[in-house]
Structures are given as C-alpha cells and as structure tokens.
C-alpha cells in the first residue's frame, strides 16, 4: 500500500518514525524547536519529543556539526540541521576535516554516523542565500551525499541515513517541499543510499538532473514529447557514490546527454558526470554533452536578473534541441 504525501511530510514521517524507533536519535539545529523549523519540517516536534531530543541551538554551525560528531562517536544518532546550505560553509571544517575522515583515519575502529540535513534553493534571496553547494560535499570521500527529488526517496533515504553507519549529507530543496508523490506504507520502508533512477523512458536524448532540476527536466521532456522528441529522464538521487552506470546505459541508447544543474557550471556536478560518461561511452556519443546551469555570477536580488541566472524549462528544451542539432534560428533582436 502507498499514500500520496508531500515531500515535507515524507521528511516529517521519516524523522518521527526513527525517533520512536530508536531513543538514540535526536535532532539539533537552529530554530527547529520553538520556531518550528525554517521550512516547517519539524513543526510540533518540540512539543512531541521535548527539548532533550529536539534541541534548538545557538547560531553556531561549526559547533552544531562538531557536537553531532562527538555525540555520534559517543553512541547517539544525531540528525543535525543546517538551516540552509549557505551556512554549511561555516561548518565545512567539521564536515570535511573531521566528519568525513574519522572512520578511515582511525583505521576503521569507530564511525561517526551523523546525518546533516540541509536545504538549497532561491527566490530573490540575493547573493549569499541562493547558492548550490552539493558539489562541495560530493567531492569528499567518506561522505554520502543524497539529494532526493521525490517524497518516496526523501522518506526512504532519510530513514536509511539515520540507521546507517556513515555520515550522510542530506540535501533538500526549498522549492519542492510541497511536491506530492506516492510513499509506501510501513515503518521499515528504507531505501539504499545509492543508485540513479530512470523515471521517464525515451530514445532520443538523456537528461540527467536532481532536486528541482529533475522537475525542469520532466517538464521539458513532456513539452518535447509533443514535438515528437522522446527524452529519457534520469533522477540522479545520490551524488556520492555516483551511479554512472545508469547514465551510461541510457546514453548508449540515446547517444545524447544533457545535464541540468542549478549551481554554477564550472567545477560542478555536471562536469563530473560529463567526464565520467565520456570515459566510458565516448564512442556512443553523437553530440557534445551539454550542461544547463546557472550563469556564473553571485545571485542578484532583482527578479528580472535572478530569472536570467537560474536554469528554466526553456533552457533545457533548447539544450535538448541543440544536442539533436535542431537548434532553432536565433530569435530576431527586438
């Protein structure tokens, strides 16, 4: 059996179920308690679980993750929240120099199973509050980095992350919390923290994306289908470990690849995918791999400028047509 719920509710269910299942699970982050969470994911949790297990913290990201690490080593199962991914930069030292290293550096003697939940997105929030940093984490061996686009994955991944033994960077997106989708019933519904998924089949072009980009890809695919172009849409779901096999298999069929990412193009996740695909499937490619990404500027506040920066459906469609060598004539300047 399955029910249709929102992405936000999928996260809420995962957290609640795991907190009931295991006393060692506790939450810690800025404004997750009395305020109810910046994106209302933990609304009501303080009342339900009390301040020992739903801990409002000072604005101290480095400390939040650092205490999470210590608590995990000490036998707890912390789920720490960094209010947005922009603030994760303040915790980067604890994440990269500490969290990611512990299991390996100490020769596998002990683990630090911390789940770091955070969220990216945009919406006229200007330069420091509209950034996409999944590539920063995906770069680091020792971290698992998940970026679920659909409610089912949000729930299954979060539960698996809490139960697992590795540190997990769990990246959400502020513009998809209300998206709905089917989620299987049962408190033991967990998903392995790996594997991309083909969510729409097609033979003409492969489009790979994740989080909100996945929805842009789907939208573009639907519109292109009306023009007789069938796109295969892959939801990447997990950035590290990267499931390149699923992408390569698709490219071997379609011979064309478009990657949609919201971050800056240079040195991004798309660069890694493109490199990995050409290493394995160069002979299958009939066109250069194209990336649809943000314009490389700090995000401006003004609505008209922001719209120019972030990828949209039309830019995805354009890229698909370009890899099909169907580029439309440039619009006449007005």
């Amino acid at each position: 059996m399955a029910r249709e719920i929102t992405y936000r509710d999928a996260l809420r269910e995962a957290l609640r179920e795991e907190m009931y299942r295991d006393e060692r699970v506790f939450l810690m982050g800025e404004d997750i308690g009395a305020y109810g969470g910046s994106y209302a994911v933990t609304r009501g949790f303080l009342q339900e679980f009390g301040p020992e297990r739903v801990r409002d913290t000072p604005i101290a990201e480095l400390g939040i993750v650092g205490l999470g690490i210590g608590a995990a080593i000490g036998g707890l199962r912390p789920v720490v929240e960094l209010m947005t991914i922009n603030f994760s930069l303040l915790a980067m030292d604890q994440i990269v120099n500490h969290l990611a290293k512990i299991y390996y550096m100490f020769n596998g003697q002990f683990t630090a199973p911390v789940v770091v939940r955070t969220v990216e997105g945009f919406g006229q929030l200007a330069a420091t509050h509209s950034q996409f940093f999944e590539n920063y984490f995906a770069y680091v061996p020792g971290l698992r980095v998940v970026a679920p686009a659909v409610p089912k994955d949000a729930k299954g991944f979060l539960k698996a992350a809490i139960r697992g033994n590795d540190p997990v960077i769990f990246i959400e997106h502020s513009l998809i919390y209300r998206n709905r989708g089917e989620v299987p019933d049962g408190e033991d519904f967990v998903l392995p923290l790996e594997g991309a998924e083909v969510r729409r089949e097609g033979q003409d072009v492969t489009i790979v994306s994740w989080l909100r980009g996945y929805y842009l890809a789907l939208g573009a695919a639907e519109e292109l289908a009306r023009a007789g172009i069938e796109c295969e849409v892959i939801d990447l779901r997990v950035l590290r470990p990267l499931d390149i096999e699923t992408i390569v298999r698709s490219v071997q069929k379609t011979n064309r690849l478009v990657i949609v990412e919201e971050g800056w193009k240079s040195f991004g996740v798309g660069a890694e995918i493109a490199a990995a695909v050409q290493e394995r499937a160069l002979d299958y490619l009939d066109a250069p791999i194209l990336r649809v990404a943000s314009v490389e500027v700090p995000m401006p506040y003004a609505r008209n400028l922001e719209r120019l920066v972030v990828p949209n459906k039309d830019r995805v469609i354009e890229a698909v047509r370009e890899v099909l060598y169907q580029r439309l004539p440039a619009p006449v300047a007005r």
Binding site: P58, P300, L308, V309
Partner: protein
C-alpha cells in the same frame, strides 16, 4: 521636572535641532518599515525582509553619535542604519523593489544596503560574518593613522558564533578602534536569548577579551547617543575596542515569513505600549516644552510624504538592465574565453 535651557532636555546637551532630527529619523524609519511591509504584501518586495520597527533608537542614537569619517558595517537588518545615515529613502525603497535606482542597483535587496560615499560598507546576511570585517576596518584605520572608528552592528544571536569571538580577540589583541554594537532584541529568529546564550547579557562576553563594555537602554535614543559617543571617544583615543549592548525589541516577526509561535502577543504589546522609543522621545520633547505638538505633527507629515514619494519613485524606476548581469564579478579584466 524643570526645564534647564530653553529648547533642551534636562541634563542633555543636545540642541533642539538635533533632538528634532532624532525624532524625525526614528519616525522616518518606522514609517518606511510599515510601508515596506505593505509593499511586501502587494508583491512589490520579495525574498527576505527584516523590519526594524521597535529598534529605531539604536540606529539613530548610534549613527548621530558617529563622525562622518567612521566606518560602518551592519547585519542584514540594515534599513534603519541607511536611513539614519541620511541615505535617500527613495533609493532605499527602490532597492527593496529590486530596481536599477536602488542603493546597490537592485542587486542586494533588503539585506545588502551599502553606500561607499558614507563609509557604509554594507549589510551582511551571514550571521556574524561582518564582525571580522569590522575588525579589519579597524586595522586599516590604525595602520593608516586615521582617527576613524569601525562600527559593527550585529544581533544577540551573532554573539554565539565563532566569528564573533575571533573578531573580539583580534580587536583587543591589536588594540583596534572598533565599536562592537550589539542590538540585543532578545531573539535570534525564534530562539530567545536564554535558549541560545549561556549568559543573558551580551556585554558580559566582552570581558573574556578585556574589552570595556556596558549595556544601554536601546529604547532611549539619547542614552544610546551618549553611550555611543563615549564609546567612540574611547576607541578614537587609541584605547582599542569597546563593546556596547543596546537592549531593544523587535515588534514584527523576524522576517515576513515568521509564524511567531515562540512569543506571546502580550509580550509584544508590553513593549509597544510601555517601551516604545518614539513615544518616549515624543513625550520628553512635549513635557519639557522642547517642541510643540504642531512641530512634531509637521515632521510626521513630512515623513509620511517622503515615504509615499519613495514608493512612487521605486514603482516608477526601471528594472536593472539585463545587460549588466555579468558586470562587477571582477574588477580587473578577464581576457581568456
């Protein structure tokens, strides 16, 4: 109570003109913020909008005490500082509207006001991020043998962040002319001070670095003014940094999205009714015959008109030119393609 000098408040050396200007600026900030909230509801302003209503005396008292040459960096709750500095309300509103005529051309919005000509080096939106920058401005001032003090504006919440402690230590260690002015409005978003800070008085944190510190009533513009003056004198005389905590309160939510589940309506009402900085100065001015009701009403009307004009200006201003999107990423040319 007796009035000492005509046109003055007892025990306060400020002339009438200055007192009226403080009043006008506080009313301007309040009205500007109220109208900004309305414009937000109309969809003219988007993103984060952090209002300063209730805290006006802090910005006005502090800015009026500063020298024009002093440096200023603030957090994202920055409208009050811009207006107190005398920046054009039209350009402030245009910035909120994301227009080309805004303070920073529509690029920054509410959180990133700035004006280099006033040495206002910007509003910063990563909590506590501005504090080391302020210490650096102090370093530059000292290095260049200037008499400028760097003034840093931040909240109670920022004092729990590592950057705060690093900045205070640097400033004290190198005796930098920095005024750390903490607006303790008793909440960081929805987290009350006692849930976030091991000590409830922010000024006490300065003693760890041997920085002289005091708390001042942030609802009393004159008290803020006088304390800031003393603090700036201390910094300017080569004694190193100073720490001021202004105890204040924000009447509105943290930003426009705040559900305000963490405090009671009564608490807000209590501050509005009994601790309001504008009402307080107004009553002082009237009680001591410094100004008449008519004089204050005229200032109120002028502010009302200035803010209405700011909205008209912002509304009619053009959006930023899309061709400028990639301008200002680098100051020096890039030639590779």
């Amino acid at each position: 109570m007796t009035s000492t000098v005509d046109g003055q408040l007892p025990g306060v050396a400020l002339p009438k003109s200055e007192l009226l200007e403080m009043y006008r600026l506080m009313v301007l900030i309040r009205r500007f913020e109220e109208v900004a909230a309305e414009q937000y509801a109309l969809g003219k302003i988007a993103g984060f909008l952090h209002l300063y209503i209730g805290e006006e005396a802090v910005a006005v008292g502090a800015i009026r005490a500063m020298d024009p040459e002093d440096h200023l960096v603030t957090h994202y709750r920055d409208h009050g500082y811009a207006l107190a500095l005398g920046l054009d309300p039209r350009r402030c509103m245009a910035e909120l509207f994301g227009k080309a005529t805004g303070l920073v051309g529509g690029r920054g919005g509410s959180m990133h006001f700035a004006d280099a000509s006033k040495h206002f080096w910007g509003g910063y939106a990563i909590v506590a991020g501005l504090l080391p920058i302020a210490a650096g401005l102090g370093l530059a001032s000292k290095y260049l043998n200037q008499r400028r003090v760097a003034v840093a504006i931040f909240g109670d919440g920022a004092t729990n962040n590592g950057a705060f402690h690093e900045a205070l230590n640097f400033a004290a260690l190198w005796k930098l002319p920095v005024l750390f002015l903490c607006e303790n409005n008793q909440y960081g978003m929805g987290t009350a001070v006692q849930y976030a800070s091991a000590v409830r008085e922010m000024y006490r944190k300065a003693c760890a670095y041997d920085i002289p510190a005091e708390q001042v009533d942030g609802q009393d513009v004159i008290a803020v003014y006088e304390a800031t003056k003393r603090a700036l004198d201390h910094c300017r005389s080569g004694n190193g940094p100073y720490f001021l905590e202004a105890l204040t309160y924000r009447y509105r939510g943290h930003s426009m999205a705040d559900p305000e589940t963490y405090r009671s309506k009564e608490e807000v009402e209590e501050w509005r009714r009994h601790r309001d900085p504008i009402t307080r100065l107004r009553e002082q001015l009237l009680t001591h015959n410094v100004a008449t009701i008519e004089e204050l009403a005229a200032l109120d009307r002028a502010v009302e008109e200035a803010v209405a004009e700011a909205v008209r200006f912002a509304d009619e201003s053009p959006e930023p030119d899309p061709a400028t999107l990639t301008q200002f990423v680098y100051a020096d040319p890039i030639t590779v393609r």
